[in-house]
Structure formats: C-alpha cells, structure tokens
C-alpha cells in the first residue's frame, strides 16, 4: 500500500465523541480497533496499542458516498483512482460508489476487476461498482448482469446515458432483480430535457439559456416508479432535484414500492439563481432548481423519502469550464467538502447531526446491502474523525482531487476531517 504509514494492528481512539447513528450511540468514549475490525473494549490488551487522542472530536463511521466518478479508466486527464480516492480519504469518505460510464464501460467483469485492482494498489478507499444496465450503455441490449453480480457489482445503472425505451427499461429492471441487483437511475427524460442547460425559469429566460422543465424529471420518475412497482424490483433514484419528484417518490414508498433515493449535497445549498452570471462552477447535471425545490429536498430528507446524501463528485480538468456556459462541462469536485457541508446543513437546516450523518453512513450502506457504515463490534474499522468546532476555508485550487472546480470556493465550513481509517489503517491524517 502506498503513501500513508501503516499503524500496528491495535488502535485505540480515545475520548472521542462517538456518533454511530445505526446503533444509536452518541457519547464520549473509546473505540478499539484490531486487525481491521471494531472490537470490544479491552483496556488491558490495548495498553501498548497506538493511541489516537480524539478528545473534543467527533468519531463516526467512515462516509459512504453513493456517487463519485474516479474517471479511470478512460478520462485520466480529469482524474484517476489514486488522485480521487486520496481526495475521498481527505474527506473522511471510506467508500465510494462509481457509475459504469467509464471508457470502456463497466459492462463486463474484466473492467470491474481492472478498477478493483487499481484501487487495491491505491489502498485509500473502498470502491463499490455499479455495472452497466445495457451493453456499452447503448440502450439496445441488456448487459450480462449475472456475471456483473458475481464480480461484485452492487447494482446496475444506465449512468447519465439515455434510455427512453420503456419496454427495454421494464425488461432490464426485471432482469436486474433476478440477480437481486438494485437499479440506480438518473430519472431525466432526454426528449423533455431538449438540450436544456439549466432549470427552466425566469432565470433561464433572462440568461437566454435553454431550460430543463421540471417535467423532464417528474415524467421519468413517474414512469419508472410504475415499472418498479409492477415488477416489484428494487430501484434507487439518484440525484432528485425537484420537490414534485420527491413527493412522488415519497408516495410510492408509502405505498410499498421498493425504492430509495439520494440527493447531491450541492442541491441542498444552491439554486438556479447562482447561475445568474454565467458562472460555470454552478453548472451541474441534473440542474440546480428553485428555492422551493431546495426546501422540498430538505423536507424529503427529514421525512426519509431521501435516504442518502452524496457528493456527486465529477472532477474536470481546468479547460472543461473555460468556455461559454452552454459549452461548459457539467459537474463539480465534491469529495472534499461533503462531510463539512453535511455538518453545516445539520446546523442551518435544523437537523440532528446524528440523523444527517446516517444519510452518509448507515443509510447508504443499507441501500448497498453492506455490513458497513456503523461502528458495532465486528464491523470493518472504517472510521472518520473530525473537529466539530473548527472551521476551514474552501479553496478549490488546493483540492487533492484533480478536479478543482467547486461552487463552494471561499465558503467557511465547519468540521475539517482530522483522521480517516480504512479497515483499521490510517489513510488520512490532517
């Protein structure tokens, strides 16, 4: 393993304020780690263990980010496994889920293996892989999902590629559920998106930019919900952006449709109004929407319609944003600000910190059916320590990630990460 010094087998994290949302732990105490796992307190045995003083710090499960692009293989000028998992470790994230839209597309076990091999060499963050729903993401032929399941894929996805043929969609979803693979979906109808750049509103009108109407999302969510219901297949809606779509998912969950959903952290802070000066750092896909939509997403978190918050990390090279807005590539670098923004949201959005930390730890673990995202005895020692009371200033150009674009440049954020452990190994220390 590279770069970061390894500690011996036993680690005692002392006097930290342990927050473990899944197990309802919220108290000052010690955390014992041995051989990469959380173990029962054994003060005698841990006398000569490596001690980490976490007094006045929060100790929580390492974060699980349901969507982050590492850009490898295929787009190494934007990022690679080493650079992006370093950024994850710095952000207290111990697992990222990647989408299949690499080059080549993740539609065979060989590509899964390649990525896992690269990631094993880096050794900084677990990577969970979503396989392609259709071969080459071409929306023609369903992929070999049986093989993808065997190779360890945690789900399947069409990523951000179009799939408007609902018959194909229905069959693909049913086939995925044969192998118990949840289908992760970016529900956005491409015909209704109509080459839109941003949320359709008075702002898009003022800027003369093509708008993406709400119905591009709600129509896709509606039709996909009906199919998840009919096929009784597990679905996961990525990146909800509108209040209406959130309500629809909420009603479906109430009716027992087996679906979950997530939101990207920037949608919880920003709205389309931030684009008013053609600033490409605010260009994301799906688009930032109205203040009312932002409130709807926050309400969706509170009502547990939305279970997870992700970074939707999409690193770009500098040139990708150096163009008029409609030619700028969408996406921002998000791994290094995720935790701090979640903590900030807890403060400004009237959440209990534990409830919100669950959205980046135990809840995403549950969506992935993983025994992770918590600190119970026997769990993998993926741990994040952060300083609740300190602050730091976001400077995109200082990111570890190859992607330096962030709409939060200059923001003063709480909760810098001080330590990240991956299977009991220190992979980041401030």
């Amino acid at each position: 393993m590279t770069g970061v010094p390894l500690l011996n087998n036993r680690i005692k994290i002392q006097n930290g304020h342990i927050i473990d949302p899944k197990n309802g732990i919220d108290e000052v105490g010690d955390l014992y780690i041995e051989a990469g796992k959380i173990v029962a307190p054994q003060p005698e045995k841990f006398k000569d263990a490596v001690k980490i003083d976490a007094s006045k710090q929060i100790v929580c499960p390492g974060l699980i980010d349901l969507r982050a692009a590492l850009r490898e293989p295929g787009l190494e000028h934007k990022g690679n496994v080493q650079s992006e998992t370093s950024a994850a470790a710095k952000g207290g994230i111990t697992r990222v889920v990647i989408e299949p839209d690499t080059t080549p597309v993740i539609d065979t076990p060989a590509v899964v293996e390649l990525i896992q091999q690269r990631n094993h060499q880096a050794g900084l963050c677990h990577v969970s892989v979503l396989g392609a729903l259709t071969q080459d993401l071409a929306a023609q032929q369903i992929s070999e999902m049986g093989a993808l399941a065997k190779s360890g894929c945690v789900g399947v996805s069409q990523a951000r590629e179009n799939l408007n043929d609902l018959n194909l969609w229905r069959k693909a979803v049913a086939y995925a559920s044969t192998f118990n693979l949840p289908v992760f979906t970016h529900a956005l109808d491409s015909a209704l998106t109509d080459q839109g750049v941003m949320h359709q509103s008075a702002i898009s009108t003022r800027l003369g930019l093509r708008g993406i109407p709400d119905c591009a999302e709600t129509v896709a969510v509606a039709s996909q919900l009906l199919i998840f219901e009919e096929t009784q297949s597990r679905g996961h809606f990525c990146n909800l952006t509108s209040n209406k779509a959130t309500r629809m998912v909420g009603r479906a969950r109430f009716d027992g449709v087996p679906v979950s959903s997530d939101v990207a952290i920037h949608h919880l802070f920003l709205t389309h109004e931030h684009l008013i000066d053609f600033d490409g750092r605010y260009l994301v896909q799906p688009p930032l929407r109205s203040a009312e939509d932002r409130q709807g997403l926050i309400r969706g978190l509170k009502e547990n319609i939305i279970q997870a918050i992700c970074s939707d990390h999409l690193p770009h090279e500098a040139d990708a944003k150096l163009a008029p807005l409609d030619q700028v590539e969408a996406g921002i670098s998000g791994l290094e600000t995720l935790l701090s923004l979640v903590v900030k949201l807890a403060k400004v959005g009237d959440f209990k910190l534990n409830d919100l930390l669950a959205k980046v730890t135990s809840e995403p673990a549950e969506i992935l059916s993983l025994n992770s995202g918590h600190l119970a005895i026997g769990a993998p020692a993926d741990v994040c320590i952060f300083d609740l009371n300190a602050t730091w200033k976001v400077k995109g150009e200082e990111f570890v990630s190859q992607g330096k674009h962030t709409p939060f440049d200059g923001w003063e954020l709480p909760a810098p990460v001080t330590h990240t452990f991956l299977d009991g190994r220190l992979v980041y220390q401030k």
Binding site: Q200, S201, A202, I203, S204, T205, R206, L207, G208, L209, G211, P213, E273, I276, D277, F278, D319, L322, A323, P324, L325, D326, Q327
Partner: protein, 330 residues
C-alpha cells in the same frame, strides 16, 4: 438576486467598460448612449464621414455566426471613428478545427487588438470574453445566443425616441419569437429602465419563455388585442428552423395568426411606429405593404445602428484609455 454583471461592464465611476447587456444599466447611462449617438448623427452627412476619436485603435469584429447587417454597421461605425478594423468570420475557420473560444481570444490579443465586437451562438459568450480579456481591452456584444443584443435594442430605442421622446407615455408591443429572441430580452430590460408605460409581448404559447412576466411584460397570445392602442409595434424575425418540430405548424398559419398586415395594424394607434430588427421575412411575419408603408421606420433603424454603435464603441474605449477626455490627435 445578486447580479454581478453590472460590475463587469461598468467601471468604478459608473461608466461603460464593456457593453454586454442592457440589463442592470442605469437610465442615465442608457440616455447617455442615445445622446452620444445623436451627436454622431451628423457625421454621415459630412463630406468626410469620419471623426478621429479611435484613431490608432484596432477593433476586431469576431463573428461566429453569419451576419451582414450587424457586422457591416459595426464596421462602418468603427471606420467612421477612424479605427482600424479587422473582420474575422470564425464560423468557417478556427473553431471548426477544434480551437476553443479562449484560444481564439488569446491569439487575437497577441495581435494587440483594443476592442472585440463579438457575435456568438452561445448565450454568455460575450460575458465569458469580457471576463477573460486584459484590463485595457473592451468587449462589445453583437449578439450572444438567445441572451442579449444590446446595440440592437439601443438603436431601436433611439429610433423610438427620435419620434416619440417620452417613454412614460408609450405602449410598446413586441411580436413573434420571443423565446429565441436576444433582441426582445434586451428591449425588455432597457424599456423597463426607461420607464415605458406598458410593454407587451405577443406570441403563441410555444414561443413565450418561462417566467417572462418577471421581466415586467404583459403577455398576449393573439395579435389584434395585443397591438390595440400600441404606439410602437416591433416585429421579430421568425427563423425558418422554428417551423420544424413542435413550436409552429407552418409559415402559412403563422402569418395568418401573427403576421402584421395593414388591416390588423389598424387596431394600433394612428401614429404607430412599425419596427423590425431585420432581415425581414416578407409574408411570414410582416406584409410588404406594412414593411414598406408610411408607418414603417425599418430603414431608419439601420441608419441609427451606425450612430449607436459609434456611441457605444467610443464610450467603452474612453474608459479603457484611463478615463481622460478622448485623445484628440494634433
């Protein structure tokens, strides 16, 4: 909602640095542009149609979209100000070879260009350029995507003012493809700032942009009630490509419903001005008898375009020369 565009196109003393959009410009500045244009109106009638205000300056007309009228009037305006002008038609050159807008800009900067006049198919292209040029270079927007065409708006307002000086008394109707019109957007901002009595837009629902009433306009979906009592009717050009697909069924139906004919025009005020930014589609949005009729000021608009562009170029260059009085050669 914050808008930093003004600080991009206005300097610390409230003067024009770049001319990107009419949005956010003060009434005083819009009036100044028209006053300066008025002072240039006589130049065209002199024996030597030139003033030496921009002597020694190099102006690049960067047209990424085809245009005859706008490019020509910008060129004439620059020449009447004694500047050196280069015309670069980029739709057929560099960007097709994969060069980015920024690279094109850097290359031209290296040739010591003092001012860029830019037309580009991307909304925000002029903003992007203004944000990326050195301090001493000015950018004039000659139309960016569907966003803004501020010199066209100003020449239209100038034309109106020469006939009907008090904007607070005027009901103005803009007819046609509002959705794709950068001209209409620039009109809306400028006319609101000048305190127009009523600004109407007239179009079928497919051509009305989202949330447009927030820009202070009244929507009409039918022509005759829309132009009833209007003092000015501005027709917009309907691009042929809008006939394809779901926006409009046919040119024929469009003309039947929204084409300006003499009989429809009788609903407007007796002394109504008929305007069009050109080039006109006869028999699509406007009947020839109206376009060429006594109420039409369409050709005056073209003449006024030169004066307005002279005004904007000289004002922006003045700021970049350090704010002193315009340098007069000996």
């Amino acid at each position: 909602m914050s808008l930093i565009t003004p600080s991009l196109q206005i300097d610390g003393q409230g003067r024009l640095r770049h001319f990107l959009t009419t949005e956010g410009l003060s009434q005083a500045l819009l009036t100044e542009i028209m006053d300066v244009a008025e002072s240039f109106m006589s130049v065209a009638h002199r024996e030597t149609k030139k003033v030496p205000l921009l002597r020694g300056k190099t102006i690049a007309n960067l047209f990424f979209e085809a245009s005859t009228r706008t490019r020509t009037t910008f060129e004439l305006a620059a020449k009447r100000l004694s500047a050196d002008v280069i015309n670069i038609n980029i739709s057929t050159s560099a960007t097709n070879k994969g060069e980015t807008l920024l690279d094109t800009l850097r290359n031209l900067e290296a040739m010591n260009v003092d001012m860029f006049v830019v037309r580009h198919e991307s909304s925000g292209a002029a903003h992007f350029m203004a944000a990326n040029v050195p301090e001493h270079v000015a950018v004039i927007n000659a139309g960016d995507g569907n966003h803004a065409h501020p010199t066209q708006a100003m020449l239209d307002l100038f034309t109106i003012r020469r006939h009907k000086p008090d904007f607070s008394q005027l009901t103005i109707a803009i007819v046609g493809d509002i959705l794709h019109s950068r001209v209409a957007r620039s009109h809306m901002h400028a006319l609101q700032t000048l305190g127009v009595k009523e600004l109407r837009i007239i179009a079928p629902k497919t051509l009305i942009p989202a949330g447009v009433t927030e820009l202070g306009v009244k929507i009409f979906n039918h022509l005759e009630p829309g132009i009833e009592g209007a003092d000015v009717v501005m027709m917009l050009r309907l691009q042929r490509e809008r006939m394809i697909g779901a926006l409009l069924p046919s040119a024929h139906e469009y003309f039947q419903c929204y084409g300006l004919t003499e009989s429809v025009l009788s609903a407007a005020n007796e002394d109504v001005l008929v305007m069009h930014p050109g080039p006109i589609n006869r028999g699509v949005e406007i009947d020839s008898r109206v376009a060429d009729g006594p109420k039409s000021v369409i050709l005056q608009q073209v003449t006024h375009g030169i004066a307005i562009r002279m005004a904007v170029m000289s004002m922006a260059m003045r700021t970049h020369d350090g704010g002193s009085a315009i340098e007069q050669p000996n």
